[in-house]
Amino acid sequence: MHISPQMIGLVIAAVLLLWVISVFNALVAMRNRVQNAWAQIDVQLKRRHDLIPNLVEAVRGYLAHERSVFDSVTQARAQAIAAGANLEQRMAAETILSGALGKLMAVVENYPQLRASENVQMLQEQLTSTENRIAYARQCYNDEVMKYNTTQSTFPRNLFASLLGFSSATMFTAADPERANVMAKI
């Protein structure tokens, strides 16, 4: 069987094309995962907004004299919802909300007989879980972004990734007030 140079060229071109197609598909899948992870953060934030009224209601009766804490929680929630699509404002408001909820938990910790009640323990668990969910959603987003960015910016994929319309995604970073919090604790 005679192998002509044209045929070799054709085979190489076909293999290259298949490779480009597979890279393109993989990048699309990764980009979708990044978008999904981003949406997941939103979902979890929304879930927290929906949960807060119930949570506050559950302990308000026990802690009637700690009004300021409840007010700050409700206020932060209202601000976060009002911020709407404005990303920067919203993230700042969410951070304040996290802080307010943390303060509420700290107040609950101060009342031993309250801490022992099953209801309050359930509430604590729900708050912990809510905060964890948001943190894990952010972590997942960052992991996906890292995977996607590494894939689309390493050689030789970087040669044509931007031509196909893939640009690197940005990581989620803690807002300044949050980081300042951590620094203050240290």
Binding site: M122, E125, Q126, N132, R133, Y136, A137, M183, A184, I186
Partner: protein
Amino acid sequence: MSVSSSSVSGFDAPLPAGQRFLPRDRESFFDAQARNRRTTWRLSALCVIAAVIMGIPLALVVTPLLYGVALIVADTINLFSPLSPAFWRLANEIARFGIVAFESLLQHKAADPRTLVLGTAVLLLPGAAFSVLLWLGINAVFRRAGVGGALLALKAREPNQGELKELQLADVVEEMAIAAGLPAPRVMLVDAPGANAAVIGTSPEDARIVVSRRLIDDLNRDELEGVLARLIASIGNGDLRIAFRVTAIFEACGLLVAIINSPFGPQSRRTLWRIVRCGLSGSGNNPQEAAAVADLLTRSVTLESDDIDRFFDPTTKRSKLRSRRNFLFFPIFFTNFAVKLSLWFFSGLVLGPSVALLWRTRQYLADASAVQLTRNPDGLSSALQRLNQDSGEVPGGGWASHLFVVDPKHSGRMALDPATAQQFRVLAQAWDVSAGGTSQPAQDDAAKYKEASAVFRAAVMGDTGAVARIHAFTQALSVTNPDLAAKIPSPADLAALRTGDPAALVRLRALGTVFGQQSPRRTKTQEQSPDASSWSVLGFHPSLKRRLKRLERMGAHIKLEASDSKTWIVGLVFGLIFSPFFLLILALFLLLISIMVVTSMTFLVIWLAFIHQAFALIAHH
């Protein structure tokens, strides 16, 4: 705001004495995952090679059997409507190729390469195709059946969201699913005595997480997160599909044995019939049935106590017709034995260990992925340590032991199933009460059992103190559980026994069976329920030490005792001394298998010729 960088990063922290890790020994969880993924590929290749090696003797044995079935069918059709001569010419041709290859294999007769290749194909292909078909069929049947049967076998229930611990479990599952970017799998609880957890399912879509209630009681939130992250990471890594295919290999082997046994015994025929029914019934119609069949299949490869033994049992009476039938089936006996022997040998020493290694790699990968999800290697490591301290036994979970976080069969402490454990506790309490502070009471249950049986023996021998003790025991027991107390023999019974009264002996025997069921020893046999790992000399679960070591490299803080290098050296020396014997035994086994395969083939060929001639005679008349 005085921030010292050393306290944050820990880089400049003084090293503790005797520290074994240098910075280069550290491994990020991303690196660990990549390494384990690469190893998976290598081990998958090894598994494929092992499967091929195991397939060769099997195909050699099964192929003639298939030809035999085809020949009998063709001959029967030929009786009623003669087949075209072209068909018989083709059959002759195939037979000729096969015999040429067979002879060159046995007597090193030279043959031209083309005939040899064709002959090998004739000898191997039908059997190989048959085995692959079996595997695919099993795959399809069990995929359709889903996981419902397994959940029923485990007696799994939904968690109660109104209860703090169970709410926590549901929350942690959700959190970990979010961290992994997966839809949250459903979580089920099992009220088992052991602390363990597993993920079962055939694909990420129908994956279920099964957690024993004791696990959530024993572990704190961080540890629970570690365990569930590991399970969910395992789903995300696609382990379910691997586990499913792997078990299907072993189930296909079991099915092969059942098919080959089916002429001999009702047991295998019943199993076969159940599988067929399972395959024909609609999707997920009868999940319980599927689980039962899976259990039967993994069991059916054990070499002893088979239908075939009963069939050739010389002690059973049989008619003339039956002994003739035995004579007719005699060649298949060799086939049967050859198949079972090669399955047992190759799956135990070749395929089983490679699959076990592959599965261990997947477990390490899942551990590393769990660290990625929680960013807290300490949670998983302390959970693993705690789970390994106790028995992780989960009744009904034996067949899926490879899917659990820790090996459910390891015996940290004795564990009984709840009902028996409860009864045993009643007995133990009564025993303590009856002691009345006269003697030092035995501490744990096993010691109590030992003491009780010694006292019973003494009572039978006529020791008055022992008789009094038993009397006190019976009375204490009749307060808490009169039913059980009624089963304890009275002193009069014991006296009668000494004089050799057979009725008393019978009663005491009955008592022995009651107590035998409740002794901790019984659970040992329960633990030996069949599962995929019974196919391999190598366990499917990596040792705790290895897992912890890998977690330590990813940053977990573990206090491991320094490994004892002496035992290692002793093991090496023993290995060196005994390795020639092992090799000899291996060679002998291989020889035995090849002899069995050749004998089986020879007998089958003669048998086929015999049957074909018989048909020809009938056709002639």
